[in-house]
């Protein structure tokens, strides 16, 4: 096919724009990575591109800091949060998807998802304070549940909507109760959805700063709070900060890519269809 000049020009401009966008996205990561392997003495020098790579910063963070403990906290908190969210969210999402009379409930889930943390943090803080649960993992998990549960439930509604109703009808005709049909037939059918919702919830919990900042102390501090602590900008600290940032970023990037395909359905909750 003959491509007109106008076509070729617009294609060229489009490709250029995409290329620029890619550079804008990748450059910060690249620079942070370079910073993390710079010898500490060269930290914070924007003019230096060539140097002997040094793993000193990585070594420092992994062996001589609290970051491993923070990672463990973050991981444990996110995992428990997700498990509780799935256990409570999946049956409810199924009910919302299948039974009449829950149209309002769907939207209250959405409303809960949109609830600003500002309104919940004050009472949660006071409650946990009275229960002496400040600086405990249980406290942070409670707080994280407030935003992970609605997201997970909303996510799953969309997946349940796509499972044909015939499937559980068949199971019930085959002699199972409705509940058995749900967990023996329907749940396995939405396994990818459960995984996607779980991973998304995990990433949300892992990334949270606001609640963790206010509810954790030395014992239960999560990774984002620890990163926020690298706030002195002395050259020596920069490399370590870069390492901590990378450690926080890499796992969620990998996890997120594994669920990219399912994200739309989840976030839109079957509402983003024309």
């Amino acid at each position: 096919m003959i491509v007109s000049f106008e076509n070729r020009l617009s294609r060229f401009l489009g490709t250029t724009a995409i290329f620029i966008a890619i550079i804008l996205v990748l450059f910060p990561f690249l620079w942070i990575f370079l910073e993390s392997i710079k010898p500490p003495s060269l930290g914070g020098r924007p003019d230096i591109w060539r140097f002997e790579p040094s793993w000193e910063n990585w070594h420092e963070i992994v062996f001589n800091s609290n970051v491993p403990l923070n990672i463990l906290n973050s991981f444990f908190i996110a995992l428990i949060t997700v498990v509780i969210s799935l256990i409570c969210g999946a049956p409810a999402a199924y009910a919302f998807s299948r039974f009449r009379g829950f149209q309002g409930a769907r939207y209250s889930i959405l409303a809960a998802e949109m609830m600003p943390p500002a309104i919940l943090i004050l009472p949660l803080f006071l409650l946990l304070y009275k229960l002496e649960l400040i600086d405990s993992r249980v406290g942070v998990i409670t707080a994280h549940l407030t935003f992970v549960v609605p997201v997970v439930a909303w996510f799953l509604i969309g997946f349940f909507d796509e499972v044909p109703k015939d499937l559980e009808d068949q199971a019930m005709i085959d002699g199972y109760t409705r509940f058995q049909a749900f967990y023996k037939v329907i749940l396995p059918a939405v396994r990818p959805g459960l995984a996607a919702a779980g991973i998304f919830g995990f990433v949300l919990s892992w990334n949270d700063l606001f609640y963790s900042l206010l509810l954790t102390g030395a014992e239960s501090r999560t990774l984002p709070v620890a990163i926020a602590g690298f706030w002195t900008f002395r050259g020596i600290e920069l490399g370590k900060m870069a390492v901590a940032i990378l450690i926080a970023v890499i796992p969620v990037l990998i996890l997120s890519y594994s669920i990219q395909k399912h994200l739309i359905r989840g976030i839109g909750g079957s509402g983003v269809k024309y």
């Binding site: 969210g89 409810a92 609605p150 990433v203 700063l209 706030w231 940032i245 969620v252 976030i267």
Partner: protein, 283 residues
């Protein structure tokens, strides 16, 4: 009891405990003079907190900052996201690869993004000002004039991918034949976009706009990581204001009142957007 109620029971219990109860607690809190420093001396003050907040210069300032932040960030993200989605959709090769890279920022811990840019844009050690200076451009990214704009830029960097994700899916879900019909009808690129693509995409745009705006109202991490509300109070957002009032000045009652005002504001905003974006009735 019908099985449908049994199925939602765990969720109802959980959400009542961790959301409904705190929410009601918050309402009660907003009517008290509740200070962490005098926790045994809590007094009912009626709407005094609301009166105080509504006339507090720094609350109004924070609200103003938040609104300009949300409006500019979301509009820029909408335009960038839509343009990129259209460009990527036309891409013949590497489409999945490009998409994967461009979506990356939205998954990252916001505090890490904040610190990353604080570092990249720092006027002494940041690489961006360093090279801009070589071209004779001297900008103080976190100075009084630019700080809020810089935070908008950071938000754009992290959240344009969200818009992109929504629009890519939206475009993919559009039926193909109207576009073929438009080609046969002789519509050019612009006419096709403005009278077919855009109207068909409207529901997705509205949803993306609402989700993103509600999220942007909660902006906290970048402010906390970079400016802590400064210089002066030029980047103090509503979330940061509530954080300060409640946890630095320990005035829980006033913080609760501010958060309730925020909710009311958000509610009005959502209703407004939905109302404004409804399909126009044809006379």
């Amino acid at each position: 009891m019908h099985i449908k109620y049994k199925l939602i029971l765990p969720l109802v219990f959980l959400l009542s405990g961790i959301m409904l109860y705190p929410f009601i607690f918050s309402l009660w809190l907003s009517l008290q003079d509740y200070r962490l420093t005098r926790i045994n001396d809590v007094q009912f003050v009626g709407f005094e907190n609301f009166g105080f907040i509504a006339t507090d210069q720094s609350f109004l300032n924070a609200m103003g900052n938040t609104i300009s932040f949300v409006a500019s960030a979301v509009i820029i993200e909408l335009i960038f996201g839509l343009s990129l989605a259209l460009l990527i959709q036309k891409l013949l090769i590497f489409r999945g690869f490009v998409r994967s890279i461009l979506l990356a920022p939205m998954f990252i811990t916001p505090i890490a993004v904040g610190l990353m840019f604080r570092f990249l844009l720092n006027s002494e050690i940041g690489i961006i000002p360093f090279y801009l200076l070589r071209f004779g451009v001297s900008l103080d990214w976190f100075g009084p004039e630019l700080a809020l704009f810089s935070i908008v830029l950071i938000d754009v960097w992290q959240w344009t991918p969200f818009m992109l994700l929504m629009f890519l899916a939206g475009l993919e879900a559009l039926p193909k034949t109207p576009f073929e019909a438009a080609r046969v009808d002789g519509a050019g690129r612009w006419l096709t976009f403005s009278s077919i693509t855009l109207p068909m995409l409207r529901p997705v745009i509205v949803v993306a706009l609402i989700i993103r705006a509600l999220d942007a109202f909660k902006v906290f991490e970048y402010v906390f990581a970079i400016t802590r509300g400064g210089p002066g109070n030029s980047t103090e957002t509503i979330m940061y204001y509530i954080y300060q009032t409640g946890f630095r000045f320990f005035r829980m009652g006033e913080a609760a009142a501010a958060s309730i005002l925020l909710i009311i504001f958000i509610l009005v905003f959502v209703i407004l957007i939905v109302y404004l974006s409804r399909p126009k009735v044809i006379k």
